[in-house]
Amino acid sequence: MRKLPLAAAAFVLAGTAPALAEHCPKDMLAAMENRLSADGTAVAYKTDPAKIAVGKPFSIEVVACVDGAAATAPTRIRVDAGMPMHGHGMNYTPSEKKLGPGHSKFDGMVFHMPGAWQITFDVYEGDKCRRLTEKVKIGR
């Protein structure tokens, strides 16, 4: 298992960066290094630092939008992560700092082991939640 910068790992695992939802504000999403979209929901994010190291805190800045007749900002974004193969999540709960509509930064993320992690982005529009996931391999 090799250590990869997150951006590179995301690219390898996702194949190619998916297209953004049609009506989402592309300028805001384009500023982020990593993009996901499914079922009319788009998420773009970057981590700080860009390269995630085992046991070291990092933050994720996220923009998300829900595609409808016109793109709308979600009412809430929630970010978490876990190791599905090991059956555990993070030992830390990230805290959210809202930067604007559909735009938040989550501090306090820590991947405490090397291996296959999965970041989950829960994008809420009212009561409706759509989950997008990103697989990330963290090297030893």
């Binding site: 298992m1 090799r2 085992v54 046991g55 805190p57 193969m85 090991h86 059956g87 555990h88 999540g89 993070m90 030992n91 830390y92 709960t93 990230p94 805290s95 501090d107 306090g108 820590v110 405490h112 082991m113 090397p114 291996g115 030893r140």
Partner: protein
């Protein structure tokens, strides 16, 4: 020369056995080769030592006078209510700053094994349950614990004041007589001096470090001087054993908490809450990094504490100990239940999966190691 038939019958098995033993010995001494992946994983356990700076939460961290004062406090029975023991009673330098006993014994026996005190600046959490997020808070715990030194801040303050060898350095380091401070502040300052001393207890470069650096430099002669059994153990450690997922990095620990299927009942009907209890204590503590005694106004190292998550799976979890100097720190595990390194390796070889939390780690499964593999892993551990 002809050999009589009865003798021939005896000779062939002897020759065959000799051939087998020679082959086995040759295999045991055969050079060990590593794949590029294995090399990279072994290199990730160094270089050593890791550079550290002063602890920003402790304004006397790294201060020479505070370190000397901390050592005097560490060895002083005046910190115990009955003057019957000191920190050094249970943290004996010759025993890896542990006590060599399965469970620590203060004024009474406690529930857990005494942890060694090496390389503490590298820790995020302290104690088996991580109830402290800094070393000075962890140093307060045994002072106040009625099972250990059994003091209160109000009892400790006059003890220091009436002992010139402890009162004078306090004034020099903290800028006021110990009685000029309130009792709680005085206790925290004393704990910060204790922490400053304990930070200086580091483990030196080991046979593994020389091997690791030789591997990095492709120095065949130095690599060959590292025992073959330890090399095979290193392959197992980063390979099939996957030990390095938790015993990660240069300090051979990820510093976090895992359930490894050990009992967590110190006695019938009483449970050791492990990490679950540790987080509860941490959050209640006035001495955590979010509290008023942190000398770092920016709280730059408090992120772990601010974000730590309490979950049901924390029951039965204990901190992953460093493996550096591990030969000096027997017996092993949070309950001191494993007398030898071979016992520890056998635990992982034969681990009972049904003892693990249902919602816990799915990483652990029996390794089913042979006796030879167990011996190789032990040989590796002995070099750390």
């Amino acid at each position: 020369m002809s050999v009589p038939r009865p003798l021939r019958r005896l000779l062939w098995p002897l020759l065959a056995a000799g051939f087998f033993l020679t082959s086995a010995a040759a295999a045991a001494d055969a050079p060990v080769s590593f794949t590029d992946d294995e090399k990279a994983l072994i290199l990730s356990h160094g270089p050593w030592p890791v550079k550290t700076g002063p602890d920003p939460s402790n304004r006397v961290s790294g201060d020479a006078a505070a370190i000397a004062y901390g050592k005097a406090l560490f060895e002083s029975p005046d910190l115990a209510i009955d003057r019957g023991r000191s920190c050094a009673t249970c943290h004996v330098p010759e025993l890896g700053h542990g006590d060599g006993k399965p469970l620590g014994v203060g004024r009474v026996r406690v529930d857990r094994n005494t942890m060694p005190l090496f390389n503490l600046r590298l820790n995020t959490w302290y104690g088996w349950d991580g109830k402290s997020d800094n070393l000075w808070a962890q140093s307060i715990a045994p002072i106040l614990d009625p099972r250990e030194l059994g003091m209160t801040p109000e009892e400790l303050q006059p003890r220091i004041a009436e002992t010139p060898a402890l009162a004078n350095p306090y004034r020099d380091i903290f800028g006021a007589d110990v009685t000029d401070h309130d009792a709680e502040t005085a206790m925290v300052n004393i704990a910060k001096a204790l922490a400053a001393y304990q930070e200086t207890l580091t483990s030196g470069r080991s046979a593994f470090d020389r091997f690791r650096d030789a591997l990095a430099a492709d120095d065949a002669a130095e690599i060959a001087s590292y025992p073959a059994a330890a090399q095979r153990g290193a392959k197992l450690f980063v390979g099939r054993g996957r030990c390095d997922l938790c015993h990660f990095g240069a300090n051979f620990t990820n510093g976090e908490f895992h359930d490894i299927g050990l009992p967590h009942f110190p006695e019938q009907g009483r449970v050791d809450k492990g990490r679950y209890g540790g987080i509860l204590v941490l959050r209640r503590s006035r001495y955590n990094l979010l509290g008023p005694f942190n000398d770092d106004a920016g709280r730059t190292t408090a992120g772990f504490t601010r974000h730590v998550r309490l979950t049901q799976r924390n029951w039965g979890e204990f901190r992953v100990p460093s493996l550096r100097n591990v030969t000096q720190t027997a017996p092993y595990m949070h309950d001191g239940s494993k007398a030898t390194l071979a016992d520890v390796v056998r635990h992982y070889s034969d681990i009972l999966e049904e003892r693990l939390h249902q919602d816990g780690e799915k990483l652990l499964r029996p390794l089913n190691l042979t006796d030879g593999e167990i011996a190789d892993l032990v040989a590796f551990l002995r070099t750390l």
